[in-house]
């Protein structure tokens, strides 16, 4: 939606004499943004298996990507992905009220359930050597990407989550805060604290 259209829509909803805030167009933009999953969600709410499958296929890899990065074991990650998808697309779908995008809603459920799962595990230790994934074990020379991947695994859960949502997935800080369910300032400090820690870890790694 172009800014011109947005300004027009905004004007129609504004009472006379109402001053336009500089960021008002963003609110309007938010309200006219159409959720691409709207029809699929409607179908899923009615118990249509095809719609649920379409949503499942669309979001499976993304959710699994998040859980794989967050969980120490791949098997746990897959089980968690399954739990999240069943919970969101089958059990709780009728509670989705369309106040946010479906993807944001699904993400916040995924984040919530992942953090619940991780809270039962100890925080990763910064000093401990990184746990190598299977691929890492096979290739002895760790390339830079692998290094970064491992360093990421050594961040505390909350910081890692914020870094993944903001820097890897490209959500804005506001969206990240919304998904995690914390104030913007907290999301900022979590993601930036994480990145600074990553920078130090990577620096140590290149030195060694």
């Amino acid at each position: 939606v172009s800014n011109k259209v947005v300004a027009k829509i905004g004007a129609a909803h504004r009472p006379r004499g109402w001053k336009v805030r500089s960021n008002e167009h963003k609110d309007v933009l938010q309200s006219v943004r159409v959720d691409p999953d709207e029809k699929l969600v409607l179908g899923a709410k009615c118990g249509d298996a095809d719609c649920v499958e379409a949503l499942f296929k669309k979001y499976r890899d993304r959710i699994n990507g998040l859980t794989t990065r967050m969980c120490p074991r791949e098997q746990d990650a897959e089980n968690l992905t399954q739990e999240i998808l069943v919970h969101a697309m089958v059990e709780k779908i009728w509670q989705f009220r369309g106040e946010s995008m479906f993807s944001t809603w699904l993400h916040s459920i995924a984040v919530h359930m992942t953090m619940n799962f991780l809270n039962r595990l100890p925080e990763p230790s910064i000093e401990a050597p990184p746990e190598l994934s299977d691929e890492g074990k096979q290739s002895k020379s760790l390339d830079l990407k692998q290094c970064l991947d491992d360093a990421l695994r050594r961040l505390p859960h909350e910081q890692r989550l914020a870094v993944i949502l903001h820097y890897l997935e490209g959500n804005t800080l506001e969206e990240t805060a919304d998904i995690i369910g914390v104030p913007l300032a907290a999301a900022k400090s979590m993601s930036r604290g994480g990145v600074e820690r990553l920078r130090r870890l990577m620096k140590e790694r290149t030195r060694s």
Binding site: W94, L173, V195
Partner: protein
């Protein structure tokens, strides 16, 4: 700009593109000059670029679909609509939905899917004002809910899923609240909160937190209640349920009022009311008006309070039931107001009726008669609902009215019954209130008694009742006004000529004064919490102490100005 002025935060804002042109230019200029910051920036830039390249998706190694497909089921649109209507406080819509599916609720089968959720939403709907409405003669919705709950197997219920277990615990909690078993209710709702993280249902969690706050309020544990109500409001705010926030705020305002913060309470009520006016939630709107009546009563504005209670009654009647306990509570409060008005009309609290002119005397009688009518109506509702706390309040006010009109024996037996009721349910507030009234009654007896020995005996009894009331209120409740009132009457009792102990009495006076003082008031304030009967009693004690030569400064509450009181009553 120097390095120290560039916080790491600003560098991140710069990289995220969150700075204004001017600020970004300043950072760029600094980076040209400073090699440390330049290195920091280039490291971060490189790191962010690499992070963005990392894959964000990962295909699961096994096929997850079959497990999910097996669980796809046709959802229940009725439950979705009902839960939504409840969260948005659309009372009429929710009632229409429930009535449309009444057969399903009556024939509830616990083995069927969503049975626990159905019963839970039904009871939550009931809590919006319909609980006491009769479906047919002698069967209310409350009775139906109890009957439906019994169809589920007794706890422990191993076969239930977590969400079903949370729903059933919610039902059990609500029913325990109706039975006035608050400790049991807290236990049930606490279980729901423990499951909170697993069930991921913020509406249910907010409901449970709000209910725990309500149970603590009923027990007089206002500090705990405030903690829980703040948690509940936070949960409702996070899930953007403004109507729910408003309903919970009404509960919070009541707690603030009880904690002697009337100004904050009035503001909270006003904020909640603006949201609730958009809904048809007459029960909560009635509660707001009733609370307003209570606030104005505390300021001594008895006629304004009567008007507010009138509004509350109108709202309660629109709930669809003339049997709601809140309606009976409002009637009890109106009776108390009429008694207080009659008391003010009779100039001094204990003056003989013969000294008053005929017109005033008739008006006093009229107020007392109306008060008794309200109490009879309230008693009928409380008896029917087996509400012991309500019956206790009615007995206390009735005893006060009997004391005022000189029927001291009836008053004594009513107070003894009220104390028994409190003891039966271990309700310390009711017990303390009964003891306080008994102390006041014995004081009256001591004053009017002609024989010195009898008078001494009554005064001794009054002292023991005052000590009992004070212990109950101060030790077991957090009700500051009640505690203050017990201190005041302990002091008044000690000023009885037979017991005369001005030192101890002035200590009581100061303790009461400190309790009634609003937390933000300085020492020179004139009107601590308004001029209601507690304030009048404090002044009476003050006058007695001054007459005995005690120096009350800096706690002097001002002169006991009866002419002023009389004028206000007439207005």
């Amino acid at each position: 700009m120097s390095c120290s002025e560039i916080a790491a935060e600003q560098l991140h804002d710069y990289l995220d593109g969150r700075l204004s042109d001017e600020e970004a230019r300043e950072i760029r200029d600094h980076l040209l000059d400073c090699c440390i910051c330049r290195e920091h920036e280039s490291e971060l830039r490189c790191l962010l670029a690499r992070l963005a390249e990392l894959p964000t998706t990962a295909e699961p190694k096994r096929d997850l679909w079959p497990a999910i497909a097996a669980q796809v089921k046709t959802p229940d649109p009725f439950l979705a609509d009902l839960s939504e209507a409840i969260a948005q406080r659309r009372v009429r819509d929710a009632a229409n939905l429930v009535h449309g599916e009444m057969n399903r609720i009556v024939a509830l089968n616990p083995l069927k899917e969503n049975a626990a959720a159905l019963l839970s939403y039904f009871t939550q709907w009931m809590e919006m004002g319909a609980a006491h409405c009769p479906i047919m003669p002698y069967v209310s919705y409350l009775k139906l809910a109890r009957e439906c709950l019994q169809r589920f197997p007794r706890s422990p219920r191993p076969r239930l899923s977590q969400i079903d277990s949370a729903h059933l615990r919610t039902v059990e909690g609500i029913l325990a609240m109706h039975d006035e078993e608050y400790a049991e209710a807290i236990n049930h709702f606490d279980h729901v909160l423990r499951l909170g993280d697993e069930i991921n249902d913020p509406d249910l969690v907010a409901f449970a937190e709000g209910a725990i706050a309500r149970a603590h309020t009923k027990n007089g544990a206002y500090v705990k209640a405030e903690n829980f109500i703040d948690r509940a409001i936070g949960t409702a705010l996070r899930s953007r349920r403004k109507e729910m926030v408003a309903v919970l705020s009404v509960r919070k305002a009541w707690i603030l009022f009880q904690r002697n913060r009337p100004k904050e309470a009035a503001e909270t009520y006003a904020r909640a009311e603006t949201v609730l006016r958009e809904t048809d939630d007459h029960l909560t709107l009635g509660n707001v008006d009733a609370a307003r009546g209570r606030l104005t009563r505390r300021d001594g504005e008895y006629y304004a309070a009567l008007k507010a209670y009138g509004h509350a009654l109108r709202h309660y009647k629109r709930c669809g039931s003339a049997q709601h306990p809140n309606l009976a509570r409002a009637l009890t409060n109106i009776a108390l107001l009429r008694r207080l008005i009659a008391l003010r009309l009779s100039t001094a609290p204990d003056q003989e009726l013969a000294d008053i002119d005929e017109e005033t005397s008739r008006s006093i009688q009229r107020q007392r008669k109306k008060a008794f009518t309200h109490l009879r109506h309230a008693t009928a509702i409380f008896e029917r609902e087996r509400d012991y706390r309500g019956r206790g309040s009615v007995l206390l006010i009735s005893a006060e009215l009997h004391t005022d009109s000189g029927d001291l024996d009836t008053a004594a037996s009513e107070l003894a019954r009220a104390y028994e009721l409190g003891e039966e349910k271990n309700d310390r507030i009711l017990m303390a209130r009964s003891r306080l009234q008994q102390c006041i009654l014995q004081n009256t007896k001591a004053r009017i008694s002609q024989e010195p020995i009898r008078s001494y005996f009554y005064a001794e009894q009054a002292r023991s009742f005052a000590e009992g009331a004070n212990e109950l209120a101060a030790k077991y409740t957090q009700n500051m006004r009640l505690t203050a009132h017990t201190f005041i009457w302990h002091g008044i009792t000690l000023m009885n000529p037979h017991l005369l102990d001005p030192d101890q009495a002035s200590k009581c006076y100061q303790a009461a004064y400190d309790l009634l003082k609003p937390p933000d008031a300085n020492i020179y304030f004139v009107k601590p919490t308004g001029r209601d009967y507690v304030w009048d009693d404090l002044q009476m004690l003050g006058v007695k102490l001054k007459a005995a030569g005690c120096d009350l400064s800096p706690h002097d509450s001002g002169a006991f100005d009866l002419t002023d009181l009389n004028e206000r009553a007439r207005l």
